[in-house]
């Protein structure tokens, strides 16, 4: 086995080596791809959470489930340590070109915000994508809201996303008609006062067609605003809450603020992003474990194949092993040779598999369809994780080597030399 002449002896088992290395490479490539891409997407989402300009989210079950959003945001903002509370309503609406009645309709995602409260909740990445202050008229949105009567004057200002503006030829200063349905006659003309960029996301291009307008405007347009005289509708999907710097970095203080908000809105969900990040991290860890468990099937096949190759090698080298034993070479020398050969095959397979995984992910990032491409481009290559996979495979190869070593040491010298 190992020792001088080892390289020469490989000539006779080249094909077996190639097959064994390939089997292990295939088994290793799968977890490398899954863990790198999965880890990358998780890390990206985690970074999004950590870079957000808000730390607590109030949400309700179902769509547009928060009522009394304007008033509730003001009450939350009065809690100590809270710097701003920004209600947000997201509704799919339709946009029309105001100058061309026959132009096709564009479905867009409309976000209704309170301009002065929305901007402080933007993280460092997002804040660069929006004009500041937002050119949407009244920064408080209270003039049009008018204590829930919605009788105040609306500004009818809107910001359009740059992809939408580019695709539909919309320019600042122009008007577009926004309607809750494809019926243009239900629409209202809005002044385009600016545009905003769309942060990189894995949602695909449809998520990039968006408009931003005052919350009360969107509520009125879509019917999620004024209720009847006896109740308050004033809907939103979420209220994003930013807290003062020292609190945002202090988990227990953040939990305290979260609890205070929860006591204000016992029927809504109140989550701190720190919690979400922790949940995401634990979910990511579970996923990684799942990927490894899934990969262990392939890895088992690879290692069984390795054991078979080593056993076959022992069988073909039976006489050679017997001669070495007869000459007095210690069992540990024979064992070391087999274990080393197994480890070399496993290490080669693991390295080739890692490289193959890298090539697959890079190819997907370059040539796959949009969502897969975007996920692949987020892949992270952590040397420690990849090193652990390679080391794990090499370590497990000791099992395959152990099986072959046992067979080698059980070779009857006298029988093999007969």
């Amino acid at each position: 086995m190992r020792g001088f002449g080892w390289g020469r002896s490989l000539r006779h088992v080249r094909l077996q080596w190639v097959l064994a290395v390939s089997a292990i490479a295939a088994a290793v490539a799968l977890p490398v791809v899954l863990i790198s891409v999965g880890g990358g997407v998780s890390a990206h989402e985690l970074a999004d959470l950590q870079n957000a300009g808000y730390q607590i989210v109030v949400s309700a079950g179902g769509s547009h489930g928060i009522s009394g959003a304007h008033a509730l945001a003001q009450r939350i903002a009065r809690i100590g340590s809270v710097t701003v509370a920004s209600p947000i309503l997201s509704v799919a609406i339709d946009a029309f070109n105001s100058t061309s009645p026959t132009a096709p309709v564009s479905p867009v995602l409309a976000e209704g915000v309170v301009p002065g409260q929305f901007t402080p909740t933007l993280g460092p990445t997002e804040s660069g994508l929006f004009p500041s202050p937002l050119p949407l008229g009244d920064p408080t949105d209270l003039v049009h809201y008018d204590n829930g009567t919605y009788r105040g004057p609306a500004t009818y200002d809107v910001l359009v996303s740059t992809p939408l503006a580019a695709a539909k030829g919309i320019r600042v200063g122009q008007q577009i008609v926004l309607s809750p349905s494809t019926n243009r006659s239900l629409g209202v003309a809005y002044n385009v006062t600016g545009s905003f960029g769309v942060p990189p996301s894995i949602l695909g291009p449809t998520g990039a067609f968006a408009v931003l307008l005052p919350l009360s405007d969107l509520q009125v347009m879509t019917g999620y605003g004024p209720a009847n005289a006896s109740s308050v509708f004033d809907a939103a999907d979420t209220i994003e809450v930013a807290v003062a710097g020292p609190v945002s970095d202090n988990p227990s203080a953040l939990t305290h603020v979260r609890d205070e908000i929860q006591s204000l809105v016992p029927l809504y969900g109140v989550t701190s992003l720190l919690q979400e990040a922790q949940q995401l991290e634990s979910a990511s860890a579970v996923l990684t474990g799942f990927y490894l468990a899934l990969s262990s099937v392939g890895l088992s096949v690879g290692l069984i194949f390795l054991a078979l190759v080593l056993l076959r090698r022992v069988e073909t080298d039976r006489r050679s092993i017997a001669v070495r034993r007869a000459l007095g070479l210690p069992a540990r020398t024979i064992a070391a040779g087999i274990l080393t050969e197994g480890a070399v095959i496993a290490a080669l397979g693991a390295l080739v598999g890692t490289l193959a995984g890298y090539v697959v992910v890079e190819s997907l990032a370059r040539w796959a369809t949009s969502t897969v491409q975007e996920a692949a481009s987020l892949a992270v290559w952590e040397p420690f994780t990849l090193g652990a996979i390679v080391a794990g495979v090499v370590g497990l190869s000791a099992l395959a080597g152990g099986v072959a070593t046992r067979a080698a040491l059980r070779v009857e010298i006298t029988e093999a030399l007969r």
């Binding site: 020792g3 000459l327 007095g328």
Partner: protein
């Protein structure tokens, strides 16, 4: 010892070896053999095929263990030795020469000779020097880099002799060392064995069918049906 007789190097006491014991295929290869071999003896073991010669050699060379009875090396029962200690004893105390040479085909002549020295951690330069010296001694100077398939049968057996001498053993065991050689090579190998034995004062135990070979020994053991039926010559 007081009477001037040297103590035996290897002793067999009622040594038996049975294969497939208590089965339908049971074969009693060796039956109650008593034997004492002195240091420096030149002993031939003769007998028809299947009489137990190779089994006897395997027991003497610690490649096998008796089913019953005892083998002692330097008064030490080898049955009590661990596998590791037996390997060590084979490595340092015994040189094997096989009928089919059994050189490792992926090693050169010199590497084959070096092989037994490696576990003893002989420094590389010393290994090379000793291996080249041994190959020169057996008449293979300049053939160090040849692989077994590039050597004739006689040359292969010379390499095997050099390999057997690598760790300067006290005992050389040769199992039909000329069985696959022509007359010329038989004579040459035999001369070589006799010479190296004399030079090193080694014990040489040689299994053979060939009367020409056995005639060179000083003590002759004849076996039949697993038993030593004749033991003549100097001890």
């Amino acid at each position: 010892m007081n009477d001037g007789v040297r103590p035996p190097l290897i002793e067999l006491s009622r040594a038996s070896r049975t294969y497939g014991a208590r089965t339908a295929d049971e074969v009693r290869a060796l039956r109650d053999v008593d034997l004492a071999i002195q240091p420096g003896e030149f002993l031939s073991v003769e007998g028809p095929s299947g009489c137990g010669k190779t089994t006897l050699l395997n027991l003497l060379g610690l490649l096998d263990s008796p089913t019953s009875g005892e083998v002692r090396w330097d008064h030490r029962p080898v049955g009590s030795l661990s596998d590791r200690d037996r390997s060590r004893l084979r490595l340092t105390g015994v040189g094997f020469i096989f009928q089919r040479f059994y050189l490792l085909p992926t090693l050169t002549a010199r590497e084959n000779v070096e092989l037994p020295m490696r576990p003893l951690r002989v420094p590389r330069t010393e290994r090379l020097r000793r291996a080249s010296g041994l190959l020169a001694e057996v008449g293979l100077e300049g053939r160090e880099r040849a692989f077994p398939h590039q050597l004739s049968g006689g040359e292969e057996q010379r390499v095997a002799v050099a390999r057997a001498l690598a760790n300067r053993p006290g005992v050389l065991l040769a199992d039909e060392p000329t069985g696959e050689l022509d007359t010329g090579n038989t004579r040459a190998i035999l001369d070589l064995l006799v010479r190296v034995r004399a030079d090193r004062d080694a014990t040489l135990i040689l299994v053979t069918h060939n009367p020409e070979v056995s005639n060179r020994a000083r003590r002759h053991l004849t076996m039949r049906d697993g038993a030593v039926v004749r033991d003549v010559g100097e001890t």
